[in-house]
């Protein structure tokens, strides 16, 4: 089965939560050194919940679709629940099987969101 399913291509062609939030509590960038892909993630937090999130950047269909779906998924969620998300949660959202190389593309958004939450915690401390 192709990994380029309609759902993935839809998100790739019109990603949700695309852009940079005007007001945010965290702003991080992550990159995939093997292809030069970059994502910037901004997010807003109220009472330990992600109330808004946006991303910009360049990437392949898999990383952009993953960013689009994952930002949908984490919006409104407790920080703690998001911190606990794993590779399997991302794969479940994408609903495809990936080889190790492409897995790195799919996991870049999760890496970004985790990094953003970590940066929040360090500023709150």
């Amino acid at each position: 089965m192709s990994i380029y399913q309609e759902l993935i291509l839809d998100h790739y062609h019109s990603p949700h939560n695309s852009g940079v939030l005007q007001k945010y509590d965290a702003d991080v960038s992550v990159a995939n050194s093997s292809c030069g892909d970059k994502l910037r993630i901004t997010l807003k937090v109220r009472q330990e919940k992600i109330t808004d999130i946006a991303f910009t950047g360049e990437g392949c269909a898999i990383s952009i679709a993953a960013a689009s779906m994952l930002t949908d998924e984490v919006k409104g969620k407790d920080l703690e629940a998001v911190t606990g998300m794993t590779k399997d949660d991302v794969l479940k959202l994408l609903n495809i099987q990936l080889t190790p190389t492409r897995l790195r593309c799919a996991l870049l958004p999760l890496e970004g969101i985790s990094k953003a939450i970590l940066s929040l915690k360090s500023t709150m401390l």
């Binding site: 030069g36 892909d37 392949c60 269909a61």
Partner: protein, 411 residues
């Protein structure tokens, strides 16, 4: 078709493979696999030690490869051939062994922005470690080294100086596919400073072109067996004998030694001084079969075949994608080997390679171990198709037609 696909068992399988990644590693003909098989099944002894016939045969086959390689690249003597793990290790051997002893603060090490990381990072680190200046020759927007004046005459006065100790340059670029005029470049370097030590990275040249180290007049030359129909795990360093003799060993241990005492050791002579420990015996024997295979097909025929295929592919790509397509190095005046690296607007290289992979078409996407070049070109990453003697027009056609599908999926 130049060479029977059936010589390459991986291509004769049912899986309908379209292999367009020969610049990363070539496929292996049955003859090479057989030569290695025979070592493992009939005489798999260690070399240079046993006094029994099995070991003597293994030693003889191994050492014969040295002679075959020496003849293949025009070396004066087989003692100038050192077996390493790959081209990368060969460069590192020179950078450590020669570089650390001869390069000092204030000296200059010169390389180019189009090098593979294997011929870039060892020199960069040598410069950082010794305090030498690391000078990197830039390219023009066409992808040619920026060392020619308006009339196409070599102009190296700005880069090579009396302080230059080492000049390291590729023979064929693994991304641009261009063949550098290395012989002329070497002559021009020597004219400015005859003392410069010149290393040529021939990893992408030896598989496709006739290379002659004496004609080139370089000091060191490196390549990998796995890109020339040989096995993985074997690389070659050729060096001028007088240089090799005066260099310290890179790795210490067995096989590279004549005498060991508690208070001192005495090294073996060249080339054994640089081959510590049990080498990849089967791999070296496989390399001998690979060279024979290449000679039987004929290097001239190979490069002509690749050149035709690459030109054909470039033409088809332009037809299919118009101005959305950009092929790096295409407008260089230099001759090309069978490498076509490109970008298509709106298509991420990973997605292109991913969609083609679903059709059993193997191409590469990314930086191809040449990040300085990609940065210079302003390309985030490229897709690369590369050809060899077993590649066919049908491969190229299938590639372009599936690429069109990918384009319509992605845009």
């Amino acid at each position: 078709m130049l060479q029977q696909k059936s010589d390459f068992p991986i291509l004769s399988q049912k899986n309908k493979l379209t292999y367009l990644d020969s610049a990363a590693t070539s496929l292996k003909p049955q003859a090479v696999i057989d030569a290695m098989d025979e070592y493992y099944t009939s005489y798999s002894a260690n070399i240079h030690r046993g006094l029994y016939p099995l070991s003597e045969r293994a030693s003889a086959e191994y050492e014969e490869t040295r002679q075959v390689i020496a003849d293949f690249i025009g070396a004066r003597s087989e003692d100038e051939i050192i077996f390493t793990r790959n081209a990368t290790e060969s460069v590192n051997l020179v950078a450590y062994s020669y570089g650390r002893e001869h390069v000092q603060k204030g000296d200059e090490i010169v390389t180019t922005v189009i090098e593979h990381h294997a011929n870039f990072v060892p020199w960069q680190q040598l410069a950082f470690g010794t305090g030498a200046d690391f000078k990197v020759i830039d390219i023009t927007d066409q992808g040619d080294l920026n060392i020619f004046d308006k009339n196409g005459k070599l102009q190296l006065q700005d880069v090579i100086t009396p302080k230059t100790k080492i000049f390291a340059c590729n023979y064929v670029s693994n991304v641009l596919g261009t063949v550098q005029p290395v012989k002329d470049i070497i002559k021009a370097v020597r004219a400015i400073n005859p003392e410069v030590i010149i290393l040529i990275d021939a990893a992408q040249a030896v598989p496709h072109l006739e290379v002659n180290v004496q004609d080139l007049d370089c000091d060191f030359l490196v390549f990998s067996a796995h890109k020339m129909c040989g096995p993985t795990g074997v690389g070659v360093l050729w060096g001028r004998q007088d240089l090799l003799e005066n260099m310290s060993p890179f790795l210490f241990g067995g096989d590279m030694i004549n005498e060991v005492h508690i208070d001192k050791s005495v090294w073996a002579t060249v080339p054994h001084k640089f081959e510590a420990g049990t080498p990849d015996i089967a791999g070296v024997i496989g390399l001998k079969a690979a060279v024979k295979y290449l000679q039987d097909v004929g290097l001239e025929k190979i490069s002509k075949h690749e050149d035709e295929l690459a030109s054909y592919t470039r033409e088809k790509l332009h037809e299919a994608f118009g101005n959305a397509l950009s092929i790096v190095g295409e407008y260089s005046r230099l001759p090309h080997v069978g490498v076509v690296a490109f970008t298509i607007r709106g298509c991420h290289p990973h997605d292109i390679a991913g969609i083609l992979a679903e059709e059993q078409i193997c191409i590469r996407a990314g930086f191809h171990c040449a990040m300085p070049l990609h940065t210079r070109l302003g390309a985030k990453a490229t897709s690369r198709a590369s050809f060899y003697m077993y590649s066919t027009k049908e491969d190229a056609d299938l590639f372009v037609s599936k690429l069109k599908n990918a384009y319509s999926v992605l845009t």
